[in-house]
Amino acid sequence: MYVEYEDLWVAGGRWLLTSLAFMYWIWEDSQMHKKRAWPWLFLLSLGSPFETYIGRFYLYEVLAGRGIYPYLVPLFKYDTSHFAEPIWALDTLFFWDLFHGVVTQTIIYFVIFWVYRDCKKSGQRATPWIFAARFIQEAPFPITYAIPLGGYTGQIFIMIGYILHKHGYLRWRKRK
């Protein structure tokens, strides 16, 4: 099932948070505090150059020019006699991975949402927090390997950092 219909298994809706909300909040916050926004936005839009480069080799259109026709995949039927019988194990695994992903993403979004709202209430600058929380989720290679804080582990660090900062235990600059 996963081989034949792999491209069907895509969930929509995440762009609302990953593209619209975070980008909007950073612009708005920078506007309120009269601060520059471009370095934060640029770093966020940096993506992962190495992974992008690798991804270029698997572009749908380019593959066709190289004699590979990915659009034939849904027409392909595999002969189950060539496979180990319990192929359903993979489906189960993918399903639980999917379920875990949904839970993780929800925690991440709510942490950023909460931090942003709290910053707005207290008049603090939210951009560095939004940036950090968003950046560590999809940090460029090899940062993800050097600092493995993807998922909600990183968000816990961000949240603790934010709470410490809020109560005065963590400061960017020394008090004058």
């Binding site: 909300a21 659009y71 707005k120």
Partner: protein, 258 residues
Amino acid sequence: MEVSLEADELNAVETGLAIYAAITLYYSVLGTYILVKTNVISRKASPILVGYIVLQWTFSRLIYIYFPDVPSTYIGIPSILNEIVMAPQTILTSIYIFVKSKIIKLEWKPYLMGYLFTLGMSRLTEYMLYISKVYFPVPEIFVLRGMIPVWVWFGRPGIFSAQAIRFLTLTFWLFFFGSISLWFYVWVKTNSVYGLKSGIFYIGYGALRGVIQIMLYLNFPYPVMAAINVFVDYPLTILELILIDRYRLRNLGVKFRF
């Protein structure tokens, strides 16, 4: 020995689709809730947003099932259809952010008319190309990046633009003429963002980049080209962000410093 599992597989597919539809609905509602709570969109607009996302997702999955030779519309992953379907959405999203956070002013009525015109053109293009069967497989020479600088707007690398990275496919030109009017409108309305010097530099760099890319495509193997393509847009991304920032801070009475 071939074992037919068609009936089971169909059920599995249906089950899978139902699960992903539920997740799509969940993400849409979650995202919309957060956007409403932070006053990015109004409460009244929220059902429209949720409906739009679910419909878009459904549409893309149906395309994949019934027209497998057409690249499906991923959410956030590149494909030709994505260029057509998602790019207007990217324009709308960007403009919405800039207007709502008071970076630029824009009259919505003509803008939305332009947007709808663009969308209509793109759908027509998509349909024409599909029935004429001309765009598959696309030779690599056509998979070039847009050389017209306005496209850099959503051609920059990154989270809300990574999907729009290949525009000189056969679909590009028709789509381009459909949306240039829209971009012309935005360009004029935000004209103060770009001064004469920066405008010339911006356009010049974009054109130069396009020419260099064509030359590279003709003379270098694909891996070299792909590597250059990854980095060639970063300068324009920085420039664009700096120009918008400079304009924004100037309006707020703050002296811009890098």
